[in-house]
């Protein structure tokens, strides 16, 4: 085991741009994928990583110092910069033990399916990163590879079981039969969403309140547009930081640029990863198909419904206010504010059958936990990011992401494992 860890550490020291292609090649060859397609996949993934590194570093270096200025002038507590979920994901894939976690969890899924302990066939390779994230958190604190892998396994098992539990709701509310959502950082909020809806049923008056999603989307839809929101946020940060006009405009454009450029880099990464992931999907589908199973896919599909989108729009100003007033929160959640809100709103609106008022209240509660979680994880998040090739400029000490905060199970397991 030590030789494997040492080898992985050596490869990791080469940086994710070099490491990820090597890992893809190795896993692909083990799974007997075609070499020509594999090489193309591996290169694109490495290039995608280089792109995400470059664009996120651009975002951090242009906007980070401006945030620091604003924070110090106004005495704000929100000094931890949210660098966006692509950075969190890229840093997670760069974690040396990523490949081990993937292989082990794949084995666990196959084992559980064979023993009929789950119906969920997790073909969503990308979402394995959430299991790797738990491993990373635990490893950085305990330095134990064994505990890290066990933590990833527990995360995966809980996710498969939650996916099974929410599958009927997925069919009824999201209109997606035959699928389930083992994406841990989405489905780990389902129990809270379920519980809160039961609570609302008992509150006379409140339990009858409704609101119309179309109205909200029509009036305030612009709050979801990343390029414009980026420009506005950047300008506000510049103004609040008492920057000179040319700087205000530069910071505004830099933020808007980051909102557009980072996704483009992720698209390149995905272009490389998908054919490789398809190979894994085909292998699983060959073994486990039919009505006894559900196809485990990305919870991104839970986001695209009018109620989740409407709650997401409402959460843009709400999350900002929460970030400012919530005691204990230090995260300034900017880049993903609209998307994370929609993501977190999915189960609340599903359990409340599309009710936006209930969905909003539950999402507020969840977001508070997310902000506190993101703050708590900042130390490790920063180390993970630096190891993943991200640069933290002088003056900024910690970065984190709202996305990290959405990993409730990972946080719980990490805290438990930290006791050992």
């Amino acid at each position: 085991m030590k030789i494997v860890i040492d080898a992985l550490n050596y490869i990791a020291s080469l940086g994710p741009m070099v490491m990820m292609p090597i890992i893809i090649l190795v896993i692909g060859l083990i799974l007997r994928q075609k070499l020509s397609g594999l090489i193309r996949s591996a290169l694109l993934v490495g290039i995608g990583f280089a792109g995400v590194n470059t664009t996120v570093n651009f975002f951090i270096s242009s906007v980070g110092p401006a945030i620091q200025k604003m924070v110090s002038i106004w005495g704000l507590r929100t000094d931890i910069m949210d660098v966006g979920w692509p950075a969190r994901a890229a840093a997670t894939w760069s974690f040396p033990m990523a490949a081990i976690v993937v292989i082990v969890v794949l084995g666990v899924n196959i084992l559980m399916l064979t023993l009929k302990w789950t119906r969920c066939v997790m073909v969503d390779f990308w979402s394995y990163n959430h299991f790797i994230f738990t491993a990373a958190l635990v490893w950085y604190t305990t330095k134990s590879p064994t505990l890290a892998v066990i933590s990833a396994i527990i995360t995966a098992v809980v996710s498969f079981l939650l996916a099974d539990w929410t599958a009927p709701l997925a069919e009824n509310y999201f209109g997606l039969p035959g699928v389930s959502f083992p994406t841990s950082n989405s489905v780990n909020w389902a129990p809270i969403a379920w519980f809160m809806d039961k609570v609302y049923d008992r509150i006379p008056g409140f339990r009858n309140l409704k609101a119309d999603p179309e109205f909200i989307q029509k009036r305030f839809g612009i709050l979801g547009e990343p390029m414009l929101m980026g420009l506005i946020f950047g300008i506000i940060i510049g103004l609040l930081g008492h920057q000179p006009t040319n700087q205000v405009l530069t910071i505004g454009m830099s933020t808007a640029a980051a909102m557009v450029l980072i996704p483009k880099m992720m698209q390149i990464l995905m272009e490389g990863l998908i054919p490789f992931a398809d190979g894994i999907k085909d292998m699983l589908n060959r073994r486990f198909s039919g009505s006894n199973f559900t196809i485990g896919i990305d919870a991104a599909l839970t986001v695209a419904n009018p109620s989740a989108i409407a709650v997401g729009i409402l959460m843009v100003p709400t999350t900002l206010i929460l970030a400012m007033i919530l005691p204990g929160n230090r995260l300034l959640p900017l880049p993903d504010i609209a998307y994370q809100a929609m993501w977190l709103a999915a189960w609340p609106v599903a359990f409340s059958k599309g009710n936006i008022i209930r969905g909003w209240v539950t999402t507020v509660i969840i977001t508070c936990l997310v902000l506190l979680g993101a703050t708590d994880m900042a130390q490790i998040h920063t180390q993970l990011a630096i190891a993943g090739g991200f640069k933290i400029p002088h003056g900024l000490s910690l970065i984190s992401t709202e996305d990290a905060g959405t990993h409730l199970i990972s946080w719980i397991i990490w805290k438990i494992m930290s006791i050992f």
């Binding site: 997606l176 035959g178 699928v179 839809g221 196809i295 896919i297 599909l301 009018p306």
Partner: protein, 96 residues
């Protein structure tokens, strides 16, 4: 040259999966296609500037956002259920 706009929530993950599938389809059918990729919230502006022949969202998309461009839901590319029908619908629109 036909233009297909694929969109999803983040513009990064599920839309990439759909595009990967569609690339294979169009190669087999020998249709020249340029892809656009964006978030749902960006569709109104992309519909006007990119002028796609069809929009393929991986989730429900408001018809008003599409500004008259035909929409074919691409959820099946992610779930794996009903892909053939979705592909047929898209091809029908492009071959017009």
């Amino acid at each position: 040259m036909k233009k297909v706009l694929v969109c999803c929530g983040s513009s990064m993950i599920t839309s990439s999966v759909a595009i990967n599938k569609l690339k294979e389809v169009f190669k087999k059918e020998n249709i020249d296609v340029t892809f656009g990729q964006c978030k749902f919230s960006e569709v109104p502006s992309m519909a006007k500037t990119f002028k796609p022949d069809v929009i393929v969202p991986t989730g429900p998309l408001d018809e008003k956002a599409a500004g008259g461009v035909p929409i074919v839901r691409g959820t099946s590319f992610i779930t794996g259920v009903g892909e053939k029908e979705t592909v047929e619908q898209i091809l029908n629109i492009l071959k017009k």
